[in-house]
Amino acid sequence: MTEEETTESTSSGPSRRAMIGTGAVASAIGIAGGFTAGRATAAEPTKGAPPSPFALRGAHQPGITTPVQDRLHFAAFDVTTTSRARLISLLKEWTLAAERLMDGGPAGPIGPVEGDYRLPPDDTGEAIGLPPSRLTLTFGFGPGLFVDDEGKDRFGLADRRPEVLTDLPHFPGDQLDQARSRGDLCVQACADDPQVAVHAIRNLARIGFGTVSVRWSQLGFGRTSSTTAGQATPRNLFGFKDGTKNVLAEEAKALDEHVWVQPDDHGGDWLAGGSYLAVRRINMVIETWDRQGLGEQESLIGRTKDSGAPLSGGQEHDDPDFAMPGKDGPIVPKDSHVAVVHPDHNDGVRILRRGYNFVDGSTDLGTLDAGLFFLAYVRDPATQFVPMQNSMAKNDAMMEYLKFTGSALFAIPPGPAEGEYIGQTLFG
């Protein structure tokens, strides 16, 4: 038995085996248990695959400053249990499963094809033979985990809720679908291979049945930002480079200032080293955008479509010169996207963007149900995200082509230390 499995078998909640015991196949429990012990070594990473470059454990969770992958499956969960012990037990199970999955292994300790023929496998199998694909799993806690809609303490955590962890306010342009908003827990799965990301969410949801239930989930297929200096800035579905001024992994000081919660911040006793994740499902009015002239598109964004250079000239990463005069007013229009959200116009505030393009098929009218699944990590949503979103809603000419259809905010706990489970600092 590995160290992990020892931990798992001693966990107090419904472990995989205990769950089998409570199921219809109670008579199989002895056989299944014995079999598992004998085949435990099967839970190894896929042979020949390079090991995962990312660790689940450490000061920070992976999937924030680690180089952003091309594929996403993001899920928000409602906690259905009222038992604090069951919730903790699930977090323990998820921690172990996440560690195995990130290493390219199966979700459960047995494996997709190694178990008892009479039982459903503890891994669903679609990732057999696939490499770890740089999978990262990032877990978060929504406001609803602390208190319910009536303000009632759910798991004895109410007094530990950081004051900024509340539902995001209604912003102009919000046409939120409640079925795509909020959530008590979230898991962000990013990978190079979409099947690996989906496999992770599918198995974590399966493990969570009875304790949590999926509220909504979102697939993303193309990263729209870079988180490290070596990565080129990708394009959103408007065809533009966006988020050029992202906080990067190499900027240690900026990360402490703008991304990581500090010990003295409210809630920093358990959240220090963690962050907040603002989630916005932003539908783009693609067909209308596509009928705008190139010049109009560029003046809406404030950058050239080709290189991504600001309209004030130079290269992509050159700072925009907002004072440079153009024919009528500044050459970078005041209501262009880059001008509205630039740190210079937001009290120096920066955010770490990690969003994805999405297309969820087409609408009744035959238009694309597509846009940007915006994910931003910030140290303080109240000062970094809310004002920027309001300013964008009010001043950004691009708003004409956007509809906000989903919204959520989560606290992202620090990475678990060796032997800890995800979020242990909150529950411990």
């Binding site: 912003f171 209308t288 009928r291 002239g293 309209l311 005069p325 024919k327 035959g366």
Partner: protein, 383 residues
């Protein structure tokens, strides 16, 4: 659709083809001018043009700004005044293409680093070739500009008249009559919506929908009153008091008066007209065909028709210019698309107006949407 430049009269990069023929951004390769490609390098104190003579037909100037200031490039007529084509707002180290369709003649080129003064000029010759080029029709352009300004002012005037009456009825508690006039008054707003919307201080006060508000922003204007007149779909709605009705009514009237006084002073360029026409169709595609605009009264089809009316008027002005410049086929296509869309709309007419948006089936909405998209695609080709 965004028309934020309209109010300030700022230049739009979009021009009617043939008139100034600034239509494409095709990549450039050659530079001696024989294939119609010319490279231009504009520094802070020099304007280097790779060729001084090209054959008549489409010419592409690839203009690169090697200086430190924003620059512009112009192709001017023989008199040195008439602008045949221009490309503005070229930031340092950036490139922009100017494509113009030019007949044989004598011209001059001008780079304007810093966007001031006469620019750095040089002679430019276009020699005769087999490619026929029309010179555009200034009379048609001027006619279109005059007609469109008259139309916009007249609609604004009618909007003010009907809004005055509407507010009177609403304040007097004559709800049935106010409901009857609601869509009829708003039609005048919707016909010139792209112009009306261009006043960023008035639009949020007059035409904001509930979903558009930000925390703390007071909801006023047409849709606030709409909800009060059609409260049946609203959850836990408290009707406005007489005093509140007066407040909202007078606010709308005051803003409509301000809007009208501003509109009466406006003039429009031909590209603004064409662009406005396209903008109105985008308004249809975005808000009306989806039933989002009139969430309580469901009078979206009135707005739909009004947007199309305004777009058609703009198009009718631009049409002779198109035809004079040899785009007769495009004009014919647009004529028939407008007619097809109108035919679809006519199916939903009822009395002197339209059926409720909620009476439309999904398939009917899709047909309307497709017809608008078909038209939008073509109007996009015009500007």
């Amino acid at each position: 659709m965004n028309l934020r430049h309209l109010a300030t009269g700022a230049s739009l990069a979009l021009l009617v083809p043939g008139l100034a023929a600034c239509t494409s951004n095709s990549p450039t390769t050659g530079a001696d001018g024989s294939d119609g490609k010319v490279t231009v390098t504009s520094s802070d104190d020099a304007c280097t043009v790779s060729a001084t003579e090209v054959p008549a037909g489409p010419v592409t100037f690839e203009v690169t700004n090697s200086g430190k200031q924003v620059t512009e490039f112009y192709l001017l007529g023989e008199d040195g005044l008439r602008i045949v084509g221009e490309v503005e707002n070229i930031g340092p180290q950036l490139s922009r293409d100017l494509v113009v369709n030019v007949p044989a003649g004598t011209y001059s080129t001008a780079c304007k680093p810093g966007m001031k003064g006469e620019g750095i000029r040089a002679g430019f010759t276009v020699t005769k070739s087999d490619t026929p080029v029309d010179a555009g029709d200034q009379a048609n352009v001027e006619q279109a500009q005059t007609n469109y300004a008259t139309y916009v002012k007249d609609q604004s005037d009618q909007l003010l008249t009907k809004t005055t009456e509407f507010v009177r009825l609403y304040e007097a508690g004559k709800d049935d009559e106010a409901r009857d006039l609601y869509a009829k008054a708003r039609v005048h707003w919707e016909r010139i919506e792209t112009v009306a919307e261009s006043f960023g201080d008035l639009d949020p006060k007059m035409d904001a929908r509930e979903a558009d508000l930000e925390p703390g922003q007071k909801w006023t204007g047409w849709h606030r009153i709409e909800k009060d007149l059609w409260p049946q779909d609203a959850k836990d709605y408290t009707a406005l008091t007489d005093a509140q009705r007066k407040t909202y009514g007078q606010d709308l009237l005051k803003n409509t008066t301000t809007l009208d006084s501003r509109i009466q002073k406006m003039t429009f360029t031909i590209d603004q007209i064409a662009n406005g026409s396209r903008g109105l169709l985008e308004e249809v595609a975005k808000g009306k065909v989806t039933g989002e605009e009139e969430a309580w009264s469901h009078t979206d089809l009135w707005d739909f028709q009004a947007n199309v009316d305004g777009a058609k008027v703009g198009y009718d002005g631009v049409r002779p210019v198109l035809v004079a410049n040899g785009d007769k086929d495009l004009a014919k296509q647009l004529d028939s698309r407008f007619a097809e869309l109108q035919k679809l709309l006519d199916q939903h007419k009822k009395g002197d107006g339209f059926v409720s948006y909620t009476d439309l089936s999904k398939a009917e909405v899709k047909d309307l949407s497709d017809a608008v998209n078909a038209l939008s695609k073509l109007t996009a080709a015009v500007v």
